[in-house]
């Protein structure tokens, strides 16, 4: 088996740097603390809130994946390079907006309505249901798009065979679509899980989640506890939070691992030949039902995407004000996105070259790889915040250029798990046999990189950089630490929607700028797709 040693070294170096940057400050803060064993109990307040957060994350990710998968089947007839297909880029818009922007949009849409009052009066479960719907709006459309793109890449041979043998929809689903989508389902489940686990912006801003209403999620509990303990002193506050965080991380890893196995097993279940659908409903004329709604569904989905924007615009006055800070924030986010993208691509390529057999699909060993990769995202954001402040205490704030460098590096590291996992899963399409063949025929490394990676996956790499820009622009932990030195969209937006300086008109102006940026990124992605499609058609012609 071909194995590329340099790839291993690069991989290990990046992982060690990552671990070092987060863990070392935390050890210096809480190194001498003892963990009281009672915090391991799920019966404590921490345990109860943590359990709610985990259940919410799992349910949210399952719902987002199901939503994405089901509706992608309704639009599977739309060709990827058709005019209609290019318009579906609008499905990526909610994900590019970030948690705080979405919280603001829904707050403004629902403020002082009977519908919103009904949700509040409905108690904890109604509020979680509302939160779930917002999560589906934020990520579900992205998942639709990714599943649709994935389905578009189904082998033509398999489609012809299905037609020739008159496969029913369910047989096609079981034997062709599900196996083809398996890796993506698992990846999106993981992403949905980590996106939901520590998200509390929407819960806080919309519902003012609290202990009294039992709507608190784990991130808010940790932040609230930390703020309380700061009145004693910051060292004590940091130690107390670290103790709780270690417990949380331990449980996160166990639950993450177990859930991953369960999802993998559930997906594989219908594809095993012994398992056979004996339920009558498989004979329902689903295909004809799908055809009836096929033309309407994309239109309805697009309406759902843009509805909150129109509601907010209808209910909020706009006050546009810009200063150089926004320009600097955009430029800095762009530079950090390119750096983060390059680092993730480097990581993804190194991982594929170092472990081609393990990383050819989701299996037991690749699960461990992804678990390690996502471990960073399982750390509570408050720990990243404390760690960041500690680094700045060591490095100082005197040199602006060092600050910029650390800011870019911090963003590159914190966005690495998501971006790299996206790239690694895309690299599943590059078979081990191909790499073995290239190595056996002594093809230079630069040619392998150029042909097998950069040219083949260039669209995915560009999408990764677009995702990176969105994550960094909307990120609220690293940006908070540096917001006094490096302008931050989320810090400025938060000042305009909470506290004594709140001004919703100005906030909406800010949000519009962010929406315009998102639209520009998506338009750029659309253009690149269109050009690369045209180029491939031209090359075929030549």
């Amino acid at each position: 088996m071909f194995r590329f040693k340099l790839g291993t070294y690069i991989l290990v170096t990046i992982i060690l740097l990552l671990v070092f940057s987060i863990i070392v400050p935390l050890i210096t803060i809480g190194g001498h603390s003892k963990i009281p064993f009672e915090v391991f109990s799920l019966r404590s307040e921490l345990g109860f809130v943590y359990l709610k957060s985990i259940i919410f994350s799992i349910v949210s990710s399952v719902c987002c994946v199901l939503f994405g998968f089901i509706f992608s089947q309704f639009i599977s007839g739309i060709k990827f390079n058709s005019p209609k297909g290019r318009k579906l880029i609008v499905f990526l818009l909610p994900m590019t907006l970030g948690n705080l922007t979405i919280a603001f949009l829904f707050k403004q849409s629902l403020f002082n309505t009977a519908f919103f009052s009904g949700i509040i009066k409905g108690g904890m479960y109604m509020q979680y249901l509302a939160l779930l719907i917002i999560q589906i709006w934020q990520y579900g459309f992205l998942f639709i798009y990714l599943f649709w793109v994935n389905t578009s890449s189904l082998s033509q041979n398999k489609i012809e065979i299905a037609k020739a043998y008159h496969f029913s929809y369910w047989v096609k689903l079981r034997d062709i679509i599900l196996p083809h989508s398996r890796n993506l389902i698992i990846l999106l489940f993981l992403l949905g899980f980590v996106f939901s686990l520590y998200d509390d912006s929407k819960n806080q801003f919309l519902f003012k989640a609290s202990q009294g209403t039992e709507t608190e999620l784990i991130n808010h509990l940790l932040m609230r506890t930390y703020q309380s303990y700061l009145l004693i002193n910051p060292q004590y506050a940091s130690e107390a939070i670290l103790q709780s965080s270690i417990v949380i991380i331990f449980y996160n890893i166990v639950i993450f691992f177990l859930t991953l196995f369960c999802i993998n097993y559930i997906i594989l279940l219908p594809t095993k030949s012994k398992f056979f659908f004996k339920i009558k409903f498989i004979n329902l004329p689903l295909t004809s039902l799908t055809n009836k709604f096929r033309s309407v569904v994309p239109f309805l989905l697009v309406i759902l995407v843009i509805l909150p924007f129109f509601l907010t615009a209808w209910r909020t006055k706009i006050s546009l004000h810009t200063d150089q800070d926004i320009f600097i924030a955009v430029l800095m986010s762009g530079i950090a996105a390119i750096t983060a993208g390059i680092l993730s691509i480097l990581f993804g390529i190194s991982a594929k070259l170092a472990f081609p057999k393990i990383l050819q699909d989701f299996n037991t060993r690749s699960t461990i790889f992804f678990l390690l990769l996502f471990a960073l995202l399982l750390i509570p954001p408050i720990c990243i915040l404390i760690s960041g402040f500690k680094w700045m205490a060591w490095l100082g704030y005197d040199s602006t250029l060092i600050l910029l460098f650390i800011w870019i590096l911090a963003h590159s590291f914190t966005s690495l798990p998501i971006l790299a996992s996206f790239i690694v899963v895309n690299h599943f399409r590059l078979s081990m046999n191909e790499l073995d063949y290239l190595h056996a025929t002594k093809v230079p490394l630069t040619t392998i990189l150029s042909v097998s990676f950069l040219k083949r996956f260039q669209a995915e790499y560009i999408l990764t950089i677009i995702f990176a820009f969105s994550f960094i622009w909307n990120e609220s932990t690293i940006n908070k630490i540096y917001s006094d030195k490096i302008p931050s969209y989320t810090s400025n937006l938060e000042m305009l929607i909470t506290g004594r300086g709140a001004d919703y008109s100005k906030a909406f102006g800010f949000v519009l700028i962010s929406i315009c940026l998102s639209c520009c990124c998506l338009a750029l992605w659309n253009y690149i797709l269109f050009k690369s499609e045209k180029l491939s058609l031209n090359n075929e012609g030549n």
């Binding site: 002082n112 009294g212 800095m332 040199s399 006094d484 810090s491 506290g499």
Partner: protein, 465 residues
């Protein structure tokens, strides 16, 4: 064949790379130049000021040009959200990074900042204050200063008395905001007179407060008597303290918010507290909004809808209600809360012990506290801690000034500001939200609050000592 002639896409790629390179270069140059210029200007002292992004801070920033011209000191304001300002101040102090020279924080931070020796006291700074700049000290509302700017001389020995720590930057209290149109409506006046045999007036006592709230509540219109803030983050806690004050019931047996130790008696589970809590909960049928989602901002938004008669609003939010795009919103009036007392809160200017320019910092603060500057700041929204600033003719047209002055004059301690402040606020909010939703009786809620506060305080003070 394609390799012989240059492909257009290669040119485009090169152009893109060059453009990106130029942008990166520009950015690096911008920051490099900024860093270089700031070093070059180092003979000009820069004071970095951290605070919550509020009308207070914005007002100070609006006046900075004058001060910079007079003093050759550069003022660098760093507005943040409340949580971020609090976190950053604590991190800067604890890590001794000296990033901020002046920190504007609220009264509950006082205890921690002093006990941990994070800030310079006024005694330590007294030699740096020009003699001519100190006259304003006699002009500060004494109760306000005691509440937000004094602390124990020796925290280990509370009986040794207290000492001035910092100057207040704002004096806050709760005020009764009311909808003038609803109160002045002749039809309302007539119906009220017929029903209660007395004139419809803005209430000055709590029984009338409830009576008026009930009168204005009509779910068919709909109109509501009150809008109560019941959100977490201190909002419900402050409202409830306002009602407790109406029944003359304190949370603890002490005289200042920052006072207290493990032996301080907690008075939450008492007959008067139950009476006050029952009264508070009895306002539910007259309440507008969703209660648990209503904070200061949402309270003002709901009042602005124009169908709510009254609300207890903090003085640093009252400007948002009484002004609209810079002009006075004449629909709303402001008066002191019912009863004979008002609660006090506010914030102080803290000078970082690690500051490289403590002398310049205290000079700037004392300049800000001169009457003419306080008047200028009040016109932009500050709730000044100086008494005579409220008598200045230039501020008399601000609608809430008379009520605010009267409230600060009669203000006393009523909300907690020690290291246990957050514990008390969170515990009260937790159980009162449950009581509001009918999950607990008021008696059970108060019992649980009392128990948790007593236990929690023991734990907190054991960690401090």
């Amino acid at each position: 064949m394609g390799s012989i002639r240059k492909q257009p896409k290669d040119t485009r790629r090169i152009l893109v790379l060059v453009t990106v390179g130029i942008l990166i270069g520009l950015l690096i140059s911008y920051f490099g130049l900024k860093s270089y210029l700031s070093k070059r200007a180092s003979d000009k002292v820069t004071l970095t000021i951290l605070g919550e992004n509020s009308s207070n801070l914005q007002a100070m920033e609006a006046l900075k040009d004058n001060y910079e011209k007079q003093s050759l000191v550069k003022l660098d304001f760093k507005p943040n959200t409340f949580e971020d300002a609090f976190n950053k101040a604590n991190q800067d102090f604890a890590n001794k990074t000296g990033l901020y020279d002046i920190v504007l924080q609220y009264n509950f931070s006082l205890s921690s900042f002093v006990r941990n020796h994070y800030v310079l006291t006024l005694d330590e700074l007294s030699s740096k204050i020009p003699d001519g700049q100190k006259q304003f000290e006699k002009d500060i509302f004494p109760n306000v200063w005691k509440e937000v700017g004094y602390y124990y001389k020796n925290p280990q020995n509370p009986s040794a008395g207290d000492v001035k720590i910092a100057y207040p930057f704002a004096a806050n209290t709760m005020l009764l905001a009311y909808n003038k149109q609803m109160f002045n409506d002749p039809k309302n006046k007539m119906v009220y007179l017929r029903k209660y045999h007395e004139e419809l007036e803005v209430p000055t006592d709590w029984p009338h407060f409830k009576q008026v709230a009930e009168f204005f509540t009509n779910l068919e219109n709909p109109t509501f008597g009150v809008c109560i803030a019941g959100a977490t983050g201190g909002w419900l806690y402050y409202e409830w303290c306002g009602y407790m004050q109406g029944f003359n019931q304190r949370i603890m047996d002490k005289n200042q918010g920052w006072e207290g130790d493990t032996s301080t008696k907690v008075l939450i589970n008492s007959a008067k507290a139950k009476e006050a809590t029952d009264f508070f909960l009895s306002m539910k049928p007259y309440n507008a909004g969703n209660f648990v989602t209503v904070d200061g901002n949402e309270q003002v938004r709901i009042m602005k809808q124009g169908n709510v008669a009254m609300a207890l609003v903090w003085s640093d939010y009252i400007r948002f209600l009484t002004y609209n795009a810079g002009e006075i919103d004449s629909r709303f009036g402001v008066t002191p809360v019912p009863g004979s007392k008002s609660m006090l809160a506010g914030g102080a200017f803290y000078i970082n012990r690690q500051s490289k320019n403590p002398g310049e910092a205290i000079k700037y603060i004392t300049t800000l506290l001169q009457k003419e500057n306080q008047v200028a700041l009040m016109k932009k929204g500050l709730c000044s801690p100086l008494k005579t600033a409220y008598d200045d003719p230039d501020v008399q047209n601000i609608p809430y000034i008379p009520a605010l002055k009267h409230s600060l004059d009669r203000g006393v301690y009523w909300i907690e500001a020690g290291p246990d402040a957050d514990l008390i606020s969170n515990t009260v909010t937790n159980y009162l939200q449950k009581a509001w939703n009918g999950e607990l009786s008021s008696q059970d809620a108060l019992k649980k609050i009392q128990h948790e506060v007593v236990v929690g305080r023991k734990d907190i003070f054991s960690k401090i000592n």
